[in-house]
Symmetry: C2
Subunit: 466 residues, 2 copies
C-alpha cells in the first residue's frame, strides 16, 4: 500500500494537496457520523484527483498493487459505503465539483461527481435556465454518491430515481481504462444499458468521473398541504388512494407524530405549531390551474380516511420552511441526540398494499422494545425510513435496536419488498441482500463484479463479499 | 443440432406441439416481413415451451450441445432480432401468454412473455382494475420482445420506456439456471440492477419467462389535438418548446406530409380529411380541468411557430381512429407497397436541440436520392423513424436506400445521438453500435456477454459479434 501511495503521489504531482495521509483526514473519510454502521479500519490515504486522467492513474496503480479504492463524494451515505474495511485509498472528489456544460436546448447538463445537487440547482438558477435537477436526497449529497446508491428523495414519486436522470457517464474501470457509457440521447435502445448497471453499483464496478444528467422544467406554481390523520394507518391508506388514482402530486411524504414533534421543536416553521400526529405532506406543482385541480382531487380522495384538517402553507416562505423541515429532519435528529447517543437511520420499500402494515408492525415492535423511534416515508413509493436514537454503550438498548432493524427488514422481505429503497446495501446490509435475492441471483451479481473488477479492488466489502 | 432437438422433444413430451421442424414454421420464425434486414439461414427447429421449467430444459440442452437459442414472441422487431444467422432453435412463447396475477392494491401485474400489451390492457379493463400498462409499441408486440428491445412508443414522452415499468423478471440463463431479478418493490436500491441490464439486452444475456410490471391509473379524461404547420422545422421547434416548458402532455407525435397523406388515403378518420403537411399530434390526459389547462398552455407555446390550425378530435371515436391511424401507420405503409417493394423502417434519437436539423437533412437527402420516404417521430423524446419503401431488385434504389439510412445514422451519431431510440440493434445495426459507443465500451459489453453466456448461444449474431 505504501508503494502504491508513493507512486500515486508522484504521478499526481507530488504535493500533499493530491494525496493526504493526515490522521484527521483519514478519520474524516473512514468514519461517518451519519452512518448506521462503521468499521474499525481506516483508509491509509486520501487522494484528491482533479481530472478523469488522475482518477485513471489512481485506479491503474491500485490495480497493479491490488490496493482498495473507495470513491468518496458527499459522505452522507447511511450504510457505511465510504468505510474502508480493507484499508486502501479513499478517492475524494472535492476538487472535481464543477458544472462542465449546460445545454439549454437539449435540457441536459454535464457535471463532475463532486458537486452537490443543491449547488447544481443554484448554478442552474443563476444561469436563468428555467430548469432544475429534481433528485433530492440529503442536501449535502453529491452527484457521485447519488449515482452510486441510485438515490431518490421526496421528488421521486413524481420524477423517479437517480437512474432515470442519467444520460451518460464517464467511468474509470478497475484497471484504469476510461469509458463513456453512451452519447447524449435522452432515449436509447443501443446495446447493453451500462448506465442502468452502473447506477446503484455503489462504486464497486467503476468510478464515475463525469455524468450528463437530464434536466426538468421548473414548474410555474407550487403549493404545500399538510394533512394530519388520527392514525398512521389512515394516513398511509390515504396516500395509497392518491397514488392509485394517478394524481400527479409533486411529493407525498409521511411524518409520524414523533417527527412532527421534532419539526415543532426545531422551530423552523414558527410561529406555526403543527399537530403531533401522523401527517401527510403534499407538494403540488404545475400551472396554477393544474395545481388547484390536483388539490381538489386529493382533498376528495383523502376525505374517507378522516383527516383532521387540510391546511396549506400560507406563503412561499412557509412552503420552503416546511419542506426544509422535512429535508433536514435527519440533521434535527442528529442535533437532538443526547451525550453518547447515535442514530440508526435505515430504509426499506414494500409493495403499496403492504405499506401500512409493515410500518405499523415495525414501529410498534421498536416501541415495545423501549426504543426512541420515529418514522418518515416517501410513502408514494412504498418507501419508509425508521430512525432509532440509542446508546451503543448500553448493551441492551444496542441489541434491541439491532433487533428492531433486522425485523423491519425481515418484514419488508416477507412482504416481497426490498431491504433498501434508496440508501443502498453498503457495508451494513450485505446479509439482507443475500436473503432478499437468493443465491442464484447473488451469484450473477458476483460474476459481473468479478468480470469488471477481477482483483476486487473497487470499494471492497460493500454489497457482497467474494 | 439434430441431437439437441431430439433431446428437447423428448424432454418436452415428445409431441410436434412442443417442437416443430415444419418448413413453413421455420420460415415464419426465421424471416420477417417487418424487418429491414433478413438473413438466408433459418432456424432448424421451433420450440413451444409451456413453462419456465421447459425453457430451462431447452437452454440446458442447447448449452450442452452449443446450439443457438433465439427467443421469439411478437415477431414485429424491425432490426432482424428474431433471425437465426447460425441456425439453432427458435423459442416461441405462443403458449406462455397468460396474465398470472393482478395485484390491484400494489398496482402491478405478473405476466408471461407471450402476451401482447394490447391483450394485457384488455384483460385489465375486463377485470375493472382502473389501471393500464402504458408502453405502446406496435399493437402486435408482446411483452418478451418489448423487454428485449427496451421498446417505447407514443406514450413514452409521459410514461417513459419499458425499462421504467419492469419490477422484476424470472430469467432463464444460458446454462438453464433460473433466477428472479428481484422481489416486488416499485423502488429499489438493493444490489446490481439486473432489470436495467437485462431489459434491452435483446435475448442475448438471458430468456425472460415471467415479468412483473408496474401499472398506471387510467386518466379520467382525454383529448387529442391535431396541429398542422407550414414547415417541418416549425413543427419540431413547436414540439421542443412544449417539452422545454415541461407540459405533461400524454403524447406528442410528428407526422410529415407524406404520413398525413397516408392517413387520409387509409381512410380511418373519414369523412374527415387532414391537411397534408408536417403535423403535430398532441394527446392530453388527466382530469377534465388539467386537460383544459394543458391545452391552453400548449396553444400559447406553439403559437409563435405559426400553426395553420389547432383542431380537436370531435369525439372519443375520432380520438381513437386518429391515434390508431398513427399506431397503424406501419401496417398502412406495408399495405400500400407495390409488387416487389419492401419497407425499410428504422429509428434514431438525438438531443432535442438537434432534432429538426437531423430530420430535415435526412429527409432531404432521401428525397434527393429519388426515394419514397416518410418521417414520423416521437419528437418529445428526440426520436424519429424514417420509412423508405423501395424495390430490393432495383440495385440503384436499393443502394440509395442503404445510403440514406446509413447517413441518417451517421448524422444522428454526429449530433451525439444514438442509432436507435427504441427498436434496438438486432442484426441490422451492429456496425452502427460499434461506431456509437467505441471500442472500450463495446469491450465491456462483450465481457458481460461472455460472462453470462460463455458459449455465446443466446441469440447469437445480434448487438455485436465476439
Amino acid at each position: 500500500m505504501v508503494k502504491a501511495i508513493d507512486e500515486i503521489r508522484n504521478e499526481l504531482g507530488g504535493s500533499d494537496d493530491a494525496v493526504s495521509t493526515d490522521d484527521e483526514d483519514l478519520k474524516a473519510h473512514g468514519f461517518s457520523e451519519w452512518s448506521s454502521v462503521n468499521v474499525d479500519v481506516l483508509p491509509v490515504a486520501v487522494a484528491y484527483p482533479r481530472s478523469t486522467d488522475q482518477v485513471s492513474t489512481i485506479a491503474r496503480i491500485c490495480h497493479k498493487y491490488k490496493v482498495p479504492v473507495i470513491p468518496y463524494s458527499g459522505g452522507s451515505s447511511l450504510e457505511g459505503h465510504t468505510a474502508a474495511p480493507f484499508g486502501g485509498v479513499s478517492v475524494d472528489f472535492a476538487f472535481m465539483d464543477r458544472v462542465l456544460e449546460v445545454r439549454e436546448a437539449d435540457m441536459d447538463v454535464t457535471v463532475q461527481p463532486g458537486i452537490t445537487w443543491s449547488d447544481l440547482n443554484l448554478e442552474l438558477e443563476k444561469r436563468g435556465t428555467g430548469y432544475f435537477f429534481p433528485i433530492d436526497p440529503a442536501p449535502s449529497a453529491k452527484i457521485g454518491g447519488m449515482v452510486a446508491t441510485n438515490c431518490s428523495g421526496t421528488n421521486a414519486v413524481r420524477y423517479g430515481t437517480m437512474r432515470d436522470w442519467v444520460i451518460n457517464m464517464t467511468v474509470v474501470l478497475a484497471d484504469g481504462s476510461i469509458i463513456k457509457t453512451r452519447r447524449r440521447p435522452r432515449k436509447c435502445s443501443a446495446g447493453y444499458n451500462l448506465n442502468g448497471l452502473l447506477v446503484g453499483s455503489e462504486g464497486t464496478l467503476g468510478i464515475v468521473t463525469e455524468a450528463t444528467l437530464k434536466l426538468a422544467a421548473i414548474p410555474e406554481h407550487f403549493s404545500v398541504a399538510v394533512v394530519p390523520f388520527p392514525s398512521l394507518k389512515g394516513a398511509v391508506s390515504a396516500a395509497a388512494a392518491v397514488i392509485r388514482k394517478g394524481v400527479p402530486v409533486a411529493a407525498l411524504e409521511l411524518m409520524d407524530e414523533e417527527q412532527m414533534r421534532i419539526v415543532n421543536e426545531g422551530g423552523a416553521t414558527r410561529p406555526r405549531v403543527w399537530k403531533e400526529t401522523s401527517t401527510l405532506f403534499f407538494k403540488f406543482s404545475g400551472t396554477e390551474g393544474t395545481v388547484l385541480d390536483n388539490i381538489e382531487t386529493v382533498k376528495a380522495l383523502v376525505k374517507p380516511f378522516g383527516p383532521d384538517a387540510f391546511e396549506f402553507a400560507r406563503d412561499k416562505k412557509e412552503q420552503e420552511s416546511l419542506w426544509s423541515a422535512r429535508k433536514e429532519s435527519l440533521y434535527s435528529l442528529l442535533a437532538l441526540r443526547k451525550e453518547g447517543q447515535i442514530l440508526w437511520n435505515t430504509d426499506v420499500a414494500v409493495p403499496l398494499g403492504a405499506l401500512a402494515r409493515v410500518i405499523e408492525e415495525s414501529k410498534s415492535e421498536a416501541k415495545s422494545l423501549g426504543l426512541s423511534v420515529c418514522v418518515k416515508g416517501h410513502v408514494g413509493d412504498g418507501n419508509f425510513h425508521e430512525n432509532i436514537t440509542y446508546s451503543p454503550r448500553d448493551p441492551i438498548e444496542a441489541a434491541n435496536t439491532e433487533k428492531a432493524v433486522k425485523n423491519m427488514v425481515k418484514r419488508a422481505l416477507e412482504a416481497e419488498g426490498t431491504c433498501t429503497g434508496e440508501h443502498g446495501i453498503g457495508y451494513g446490509k450485505k446479509k439482507a441482500l443475500s436473503a432478499e435475492v437468493g443465491d442464484g441471483t447473488l451469484l450473477v451479481m458476483k460474476m459481473l463484479k468479478k468480470t469488471l473488477d477481477p482483483h476486487w479492488i473497487l470499494n471492497p466489502g460493500k454489497i457482497f463479499d467474494p
